[in-house]
């Protein structure tokens, strides 16, 4: 889910950037350092929407760099356990399938896929029901529920399930009516 939050960061600026464009340089550096990053606490920082305040700069002893505390507003994407997401399948194998929802990758184990769907190997590996009416393959859209999250230094990885009511395939690119 997307959130709009206010975060704070201490930005260090080299004295060569001091001058009338100091604030612009600070904002540009903030955008470069922060946008696209991911933390376990806040999720993916998708975009900075505004600067709330820039505090007074403090000169760091011995280096000449100046540290500015900057408060900024941003849009983040953070998945939660229990959240319902619509994801696009990116890879299918016999262990399950991978899907992407925005910047987040989700893995759905074959244990969390309905029992009436079986793995079919081939050029286009997929999970199909016994009557062939429902198929999960690459580029299929599925609705899933997050049941766990793992946080790395730079990304959030989720485990999902489609084994509950109202979960499963939304659209199948290769479906024939």
């Amino acid at each position: 889910m997307f959130f709009h939050i206010v975060l704070e960061r201490n930005m260090q600026l080299h004295p060569r950037h001091f001058g009338r464009d100091l604030r612009d340089k600070l904002v540009a550096k903030l955008m470069k350092d922060v946008e696209g990053t991911c933390s376990g606490r806040h999720g993916f920082i998708v975009a900075i929407t505004g600067i709330e305040s820039v505090g007074k700069g403090l000169i760091r002893d011995g280096t000449g760099f100046v540290t500015f505390p900057v408060k900024y507003q941003c849009v983040v994407f953070r998945p939660f356990k229990g959240e319902i997401l619509e994801a696009v399948v990116t890879m299918v194998n016999k262990m399950g399938f991978f899907a992407e929802a925005g910047p987040v990758q989700i893995f759905v184990s074959n244990h969390l896929i309905p029992d009436d769907m079986e793995f079919q190997s081939g050029d286009m590996p997929n999970y199909t029901t016994s009557d062939g009416s429902v198929k999960i393959q690459k580029d299929s859209e599925v609705r899933l529920k997050i049941i766990g999250t793992r946080v790395d230094a730079t990304e959030i990885f989720c485990i999902g399930t489609i084994k509950d009511d109202f979960l499963g395939v939304i659209s199948d690119p290769g479906a024939t009516s």
Partner: protein
């Protein structure tokens, strides 16, 4: 077959799910795959601890919380003792965080992308990959509804204690029926009797809005 949940195709009606695999199954398969210790945050629960619009977790009525309480951001849950997971969620997200519906996020991100045309002359300013994937995700399904309109549709639910985050979740799911809402947002189940009718009205209005938008798009 009706007893099995998750038939794998929507809408999957005809029986509540009796099969809910424990988190451990997913964990073990990933653990063996990766070959290193993987810690899955099973306490990070959204089901029972959906944060309010101001970042404070919403305690479900079943846990002794006040079901009629409105999440207006100024009240503090001083009487209730939040569960460890709720406390953790409160710690994780800043207190002034606001849930965004996908259409809201799409509007904000699209605005930024439009401004990039002006800013793109500066080679230092580039949009990250997560921006493109986030914008694509927010705009999926051709969702052209205005956030203000969608918020107005779900406004009556706030009177019945539905939090901002729960409303965002419902709006993002775009459910077809009230049963779908209660199945996918279990925190609303304690208030089922009160919410059934207002939800039905809201979903009907949302359906009409989407139909009108689809007709408008087809006519262009």
């Amino acid at each position: 077959m009706a007893e099995k949940g998750g038939k794998g195709y929507l809408p999957a009606k005809g029986g509540k799910s009796a099969l809910k695999s424990p988190v451990g199954n997913g964990d073990s398969s990933t653990k063996s795959k990766k070959g290193k210790k993987v810690q899955f945050d099973s306490e990070d629960s959204f089901e029972n601890n959906i944060p309010k619009s101001n970042g404070k977790a919403d305690t479900p009525a079943g846990k002794g919380g006040k079901g009629d309480k409105v999440a207006n951001g100024t009240k503090k849950p001083t009487v209730k003792t939040p569960s460890p997971t709720e406390r953790r969620l409160e710690q994780e997200l800043p207190p002034n965080s606001v849930c965004l519906m996908d259409c809201e996020a799409a509007e904000i991100l699209q605005d930024i992308q439009d401004h990039m045309v002006i800013l793109s002359q500066d080679p230092d300013i580039k949009l990250p990959v997560s921006f493109d994937t986030g914008l694509t995700y927010a705009k999926r399904g051709g969702n052209y509804a205005k956030p203000q309109t969608v918020k107005k549709i779900f406004e009556p639910l706030k009177k019945h204690g539905v939090s901002e985050c729960e409303i965002c979740l419902i709006a993002n799911i775009c459910p077809d029926s009230v049963d779908e809402v209660f199945a996918l947002v279990p925190t609303l189940k304690p208030k089922m009797s009160k919410l059934r009718e207002p939800l039905r009205i809201a979903l009907d209005e949302l359906g009409n809005l989407k139909e009108a938008l689809a007709n408008l798009k087809d006519s262009k």
